[in-house]
């Protein structure tokens, strides 16, 4: 899932300072699962900001709505009624949501409530970790199922580097060395030969470096 973290309340309050009526738009996708932008979080944020404005003597009218997903045009289309008459929409979706809203509603002022952080998963309830670097060319079959592109701080493909010690990365004692993990795992699976092979420089044109990406699937297109 995409993991996002809410911006500080004061920051969001600053962004809607001159608005009288605001739509708080949650998303029932990834941000619901990572507990930062679902229905509940949307209501908490709207209530907190409404209370803040009340205390400041500048009341704010809030509307809340949680879209099935903010990254699909059909669900963003369905928001046509709720965006009517608001001065801005605060989107609690990942960075995709505000952009879909902006594209669909040209006159609507959109505000991101989240800092979209990474593609990852939960480690335990309340803890999320980054797992995928979205590089566009997966190498997990070569690394025992541990991603060096994002879990190695240097994205090294022929690791571990000289900064690996006691299984930790040189950037911090609380950061595991991905290449140490890869080593342990390949050793266990008796596939260290994979690690001995020289890995060529990666084709970063498949990643963000190559410019904005697009995936097209003719077979599932309609019409």
């Amino acid at each position: 899932m995409i993991v996002a973290e809410q911006k500080p309340l004061a920051e969001i309050a600053g962004m809607i300072g001159d608005c009288r009526k605001v739509l708080f738009a949650g998303c029932a996708g990834c941000v619901t699962v990572c507990l930062s932008g679902g229905e509940k979080e949307t209501e908490v944020m709207a209530t907190a900001l409404r209370m803040k404005r009340q205390l400041e003597g500048n009341p704010l009218e809030t509307v809340t709505y949680t879209a099935t997903r903010q990254c699909d045009p059909e669900y963003v289309d369905a928001m046509a009624d709720v965006v009517k008459g608001v001065d801005a929409v605060v989107s609690l979706a990942c960075g995709v949501g505000p952009q879909y809203l902006a594209a669909r509603y040209p006159d609507l002022w959109v505000i991101p409530a989240q800092n979209t952080t990474f593609a990852g998963g939960s480690k335990e309830h309340g803890v999320w970790e980054e797992f995928c670097g979205l590089c566009g060319q997966c190498v997990l079959h070569l690394t025992g199922g541990i991603c060096p592109v994002i879990r190695c701080s240097k994205s090294i493909l022929n690791g571990p580097c000289g900064g690996s010690q006691y299984g930790k990365c040189e950037i911090g004692k609380d950061v595991e060395c991905a290449w140490h993990l890869i080593y342990e795992r390949l050793k266990r699976l008796d596939r260290l030969d994979l690690m001995r092979q020289y890995r060529e420089p990666k084709d970063w044109s498949k990643a963000r470096d190559g410019g904005p990406r697009k995936v097209t699937r003719e077979d599932v297109m309609i019409g």
């Binding site: 044109s205 990643a207 190559g210 410019g211």
Partner: protein, 301 residues
Amino acid sequence: MEQILENGRFAVTAEIGPPKHADAEKVVHHAQLLKGYVDATNITDCQTAVVRMSSIGTGVHVLGAGVEPIVQMTCRDRNRIAIQSDLLAAWSLGMRNVLCLSGDHQKFGNHPTARNVYDVDSMQLIHLVRRMRDEKLFFCGEEIKGAEPRFFVGAVANPFADPFEWRVDRLEKKIDAGAEFIQTQCIYDMERFERFMEMVRERGLDKRAHILAGVTPLKSWKAAKYLQTSVSGMIVPDSIVERLKGAEDGKAEGVNICIEQIKHIKEKIPGVHGVHIMAIAWEEVVPDIVQRAGLYPRPQA
């Protein structure tokens, strides 16, 4: 170059493309050709993202041959650590001018699978290079204890990119950030450039920075057609393509057009403080252009 511009003289700069190998002989040869005809010459920084000798290294050779280099520094290949490190080296090696730009995307070069950096953008680079000089501060704000690089800071402007109205705002933003001289994208659509300069003058930007108009002599109508259709951010009017097509000697006609453009810019467009002649892979034609455009001999700084 700084002196010439500060003294209000019409400046002439050219461009030298570093070699795609480790031999500087040709660069030195080109510099010798240009010596006395130009006030300074840009040294491109892996232009079109093709690996070449570094702009700073090449600059050393050019300086040795008696021509003042303008080191181009793109944001594509270096993060802020590398940029500053290179700037320190460049100053220590005698470079005095730096041109800050984003750089062409690596997709167009010979390493399209490379990562790109763009850690800082051209606007930030201008601001931070000026701050290194004016406040003796590294990009992070830490003090430079010792000699600071004191570059004459340049930037580029493209009046032919879109949105047109925004181009002057962006130029102003660059000047606000600290750009002291500006080189423009090569001009073929003179009418549009004149409109651009009109807006520049309205805002008094020509008084705040030295604007050097970019020109590029075309070798053939095919070259013109290529620029017209395949290079983003360029406008080449059909009239130029047609004129080159009709000419007996395309190269000579290309030079003629370039000379006419320079004269027009110098005489008819107020606020332009010089020309930047980008004779891409055709450095040897520059002395002829400078001479025939009435810009020779060059004033002594």
